[in-house]
Symmetry: C2
Subunit: 302 residues, 2 copies
Amino acid sequence: MAPRDGFQSVGPVIPTREKIRIIAALYDAGLRRIEVTSFVGPAVPQLADAVEVLAAARALAGLDAQVLVPNQRHAERALAAGARHLAFFLSVSERHNENNVRRSVAESVAEYARVAAIRPAGVKLRLNLATAFDCPFEGRVAESATLELLGRLLEVESDAEVALCDTTGRVTPGHVAALFTAAMQQYPRVAAWAFHAHDTYGMGAANALAAWQAGVSVFDASAGGLGGCPFAPGATGNVATEDLVWMFDGMGVASGVELGRLAAVGREIARLPGAQTGGRVREALARSAEIGSGQHMGGLKK
Amino acid sequence: MAPRDGFQSVGPVIPTREKIRIIAALYDAGLRRIEVTSFVGPAVPQLADAVEVLAAARALAGLDAQVLVPNQRHAERALAAGARHLAFFLSVSERHNENNVRRSVAESVAEYARVAAIRPAGVKLRLNLATAFDCPFEGRVAESATLELLGRLLEVESDAEVALCDTTGRVTPGHVAALFTAAMQQYPRVAAWAFHAHDTYGMGAANALAAWQAGVSVFDASAGGLGGCPFAPGATGNVATEDLVWMFDGMGVASGVELGRLAAVGREIARLPGAQTGGRVREALARSAEIGSGQHMGGLKK
């Protein structure tokens, strides 16, 4: 998510060639699915170069270059630019949806139907349910509200991947496990489930663990933990990709990512002007390499 | 652990009255068990005021004031100062034990027997197994090595609480769950199990979740995530107490701690000169209070 959820949070505009270089570096680290940009309006100037970024990403063999689109018009732009994987999003809570895309939830459902209708054969679709657990305005979102909305969306389109998003980062593992378990039971034919975690309250890895235990195998994360919001100092991004790779590597769950290279990209991303970062693994690995066999022991260690 | 594993990591000596004030503030936030200091030699000048700190902690009604002791001599000092809860520690790996307490593991087992022998009735004992999972020098520690050593220690003393410690912070949830599960199966009569997590690789909360799922209900943590090592910049401490309380609160697991007050103490601790801190909840809560209902929305949020 670094090139989309991450970059959009950075104030100073990042040169297009720099974005393309970072996407290529993530690819070189082994990532084969990246949300590379979003086709959106002028409200997000950081992503105004979506056409160029997508074109460069498409040149990377075997990369599943996902792009976020808020509506039919931008989905058409994305498709014209060669997108083969669209991600649509709406919020479960009315107030967040209104604030985010200036529509009612019902209007977003209708928009989703329009996006699904124009999707050519072979183009993949992901459906993101923001505020699936918790809303910054309305607090905890009832499980029944998320499940009911998901049911309406699955009537529109049955073969999308479904991501339940912890938009606020306030969610804890029990809630993550309970909602995914309920959703999987109620909608067993969903093609794939994904979890989108923010690490604002330090729960990113623990929540991903809970989602994995519930049966989820697609995880959104941001290299360097890049994210946040230029208007909310200290707000944080998605869980750091390198932290999740560390966790899953340790658990014997293969991701195809070479952690050392990914951490190096994370460190580069952390140096972008205006970057707000998160995660611990990339610095821990750098320190571990510096101190070698670990002579630095002070005090009593247990 | 902030007043012990935390303070010992801070270079500039913290005034005794400041330590006592922080312990009282943690108590006021609802904590009823605190490792308040360690009785050790002059190698750890930060903890030279153990007698005064323990005396102040004992004045807090209902506080279980645990103190760490490395050997019989210091256990005697602690008991003379009124300690009612001793925590002993040794490492599973020879090299870490040698580096930490200048003894072989066998010598530490014998020392543990001497500490257990002088323990008066009614004084509680905790046994910390450092490097139970992983050693900074020797890498992953075999499960059999930890279990075998634990067996020898349980022959010495059968009613201690046993803490398995992730000394390096490199451990991941599968390993945590597997070792606790095996240990509980092999030694079902252990009075209580505890998990001591460091957050160096961001796994503190996820590992605590895994330990909790395995049946552990005692968790070491440090307010403000205070910890690390004055000689290893960026080394990190125990998982932040406020992050674990946030997680367990969210899961309906009561800790008796008032999170808002705890987070305020964590912010104070983070301002100590020389403090290396960790964790995210205390700042997230402060931000959340500042921005009120959450108007700060920039970009597309999912």
